[in-house]
Symmetry: D2
Subunit: 119 residues, 4 copies
């Protein structure tokens, strides 16, 4: 079975944990993610309003910290679904050599993304 | 001069770095902050769009990391202006006892806010 | 039971939630990890020395930030090897039901660990 | 001009950007800092031991997160004392022009240090 473009942008993985074409780890929870991001967008707008109304800086900082935390939670959800979906998908490649390569690629990619969150 | 609702802890700031009633450390840069928050709001909306269009999870994570970084930059700006304005304002209180108290309060408050950002 | 090259890419672990004793993702790089941790230990000792010698607080903070960064790098290495080894190992479990369970468990565990790093 | 009780931790700084040698914000709590750093050093050694004994990667990650948190706490303590001591010390400079300059310098320096912690 040939699966030459396994990688980066188009995971078209047919295998064990039931990925479907054009689906990603987060697809099942898409609505929940959209709701959370909508709420975060509203929080950011709220911070702008606080600045506009000259609210106390410490109260603004508290809100900024809350948004950062909410974004971290979204990130963690995406990471969890990415590992469970894309990394595990790579592990289901039958050809051992391609599999090793695909896993390395996916794991490196996930770790780099986590590294960007840590910074 | 009446300064009734100036702020949370009443720092009695008449002095050196020219605080004015209803002004905070960030007031001078208010427009810049509003522009930055507007841009962050747009970035969050962009992330929602990526989720909606089933973009690749790693690319979404990269965008989430960028928003987190932009929020950190906003926080740091607010912290800088808070220290330079509210903490230094407290240090200008003429009565030594009130001054020591005001400084302690403001410094503790700023450090707690920084602690919330670190978590 | 001999399993000499178990590591990174294709671990074929006999029981998914039970990594073979003495065989983890990082085992292959054990010496490198020990060297890095030795260096971090020395950096922490250096910070204590700076405090003891009344060095300037900002310079101490810079060193603390450097140690935190070094620890983050160690974490990322461990996360990378954990995903590539333990998570992928779970994905190699032949029984589909056990596999799904093992993957969920490992992915959740990894994500929780990443979450603790983000906080 | 004598300004003896200006602040928190005895700032009496002769030149604003030059803290008196052997007198920093943390000096009063030096012993406590040394104890905390000693404990952190021991924790890092404990992590090395875990690696050496092939402990489970997730358990190692948990310990690394604990050390990072302990370092954050040390940082926050240093930041608090730095703001209350060096920044407030700069605010006690009698000459208004030198004072403004000294405050700007100290506040910028503190914010840069906090920025390095956030990254």
């Amino acid at each position: 079975m040939s699966q030459p473009e396994v990688a980066v942008a188009n995971p078209l993985e047919p295998a064990p944990t039931e990925p479907t074409p054009h689906e990603h780890g987060y697809t099942a929870n898409k609505e929940a993610y959209l709701r959370r991001l909508k709420r975060i967008e509203g929080q950011v707008r709220g911070i702008a309003r606080m600045v506009d109304e000259d609210k106390y800086c410490i109260d603004i900082l508290t809100q900024v910290a809350a948004v950062t935390k909410a974004l971290h939670a979204v990130s963690l959800g995406l990471v969890e679904e990415h590992i469970g979906h894309c990394v595990v998908g790579a592990a289901s490649e039958p050809d051992p050599e391609l599999r090793a390569e695909a896993i390395d690629f996916k794991v490196k990619e996930a770790t780099d993304a986590i590294g960007r969150l840590l910074r």
